[in-house]
Symmetry: C2
Subunit: 149 residues, 2 copies
DNA sequence: CTAGTCGTGTCAGTCTTCTGACACGCACCA
DNA sequence: TGGTGCGTGTCAGAAGACTGACACGACTAG
């Protein structure tokens, strides 16, 4: 398979490695979520709602790192399938607070366990100190990137 | 905006933080690449080719973390725009080695500088040791995740 | 030599997500 | 009181990426 001609610094770029790790995590999650009929965004939405009931569509979108338009179509599906509920009219302003139904909570349980096992596997072989260090570094990167141009 | 009800361990999950960091990086890259009329995958493809000339479509897809089908349509566009070249017939097997044209190399230069500035910003405030540690941790995560179920 | 496996390029169709745009409600301040 | 900015939900269209499937070449084991 295509001999690597140069072998450059791609493997030492934190940006590239970040993307690679994120891609590997996404693939691993899709792998365990697929048998349950769930996508990653799907799961993220449910997990978010379990931890913070009453979140708005826009909040969920931010938490799952998609646009509110995308989250909206996902919520419509989840609502149709009976996993979440939204009031017909906004109690205040235009915000429609979303909540998990018992059914949604049930299907989340299995998914949550599956995802947790992936995260455990990802962290295998890393010491507490290394994990804590990674946490700090990632937080710093996010802060710097969002700092604006 | 929507009081957080519980404030759970979402912010201490390395998986979530990894996704968050990757998302922030992607957004920052799109921001600087858009004025140049490039997408992230677009840029990744060109950068890959600059560092490893003659890569095949499938190799490029793996390097940019998309399917070979997606990379193929991208390559067709890049070829039409004169940024890359592929032989009409495969020298060996079915593999079509791709190469940058001078024009592709030129447009890559600007993009590369822009992306480098983003990475510099991302790494601001991190010591050499922290960066080296992050590199090791990310590599370990990737290895563990790909290790199979 | 032959059969099987693997990787590749490609076609077709579907789905998800994004960009762009609009109207509405709330909070703030002059 | 009226204006302005911000965030929200929603509609419509376009672009990007994916899944599934096929035939072909190379490589390996029997």
């Amino acid at each position: 398979m295509s001999q690597d001609g140069a072998g450059v610094d791609l493997e030492t770029s934190l940006g590239y490695l970040l993307k690679e790790a994120s891609s590997a995590l996404r693939i691993a999650m899709e792998e365990v979520l697929r048998p349950l009929g769930m996508t990653v965004t799907h799961y993220s939405c449910l997990e978010l709602l379990a931890q913070r009931p009453g979140l708005s569509n826009s909040d969920l979108a931010r938490g799952a790192f998609v646009t509110r338009q995308s989250m909206n179509v996902l919520l419509q599906n989840l609502e149709r399938e009976g996993h979440v509920t939204r009031p017909a009219a906004a109690p205040v302003g235009k915000v429609l607070p979303t909540r998990l139904t018992p059914r949604g909570r049930r299907s989340l349980e299995k998914a949550s366990a599956a995802v947790r096992s992936v995260e455990v596997r990802m962290l295998a072989g890393l010491s507490e100190d290394e994990q804590a260090g990674a946490l700090r570094v990632l937080r710093s990167m996010i802060r710097s990137l969002r700092g604006g141009a």
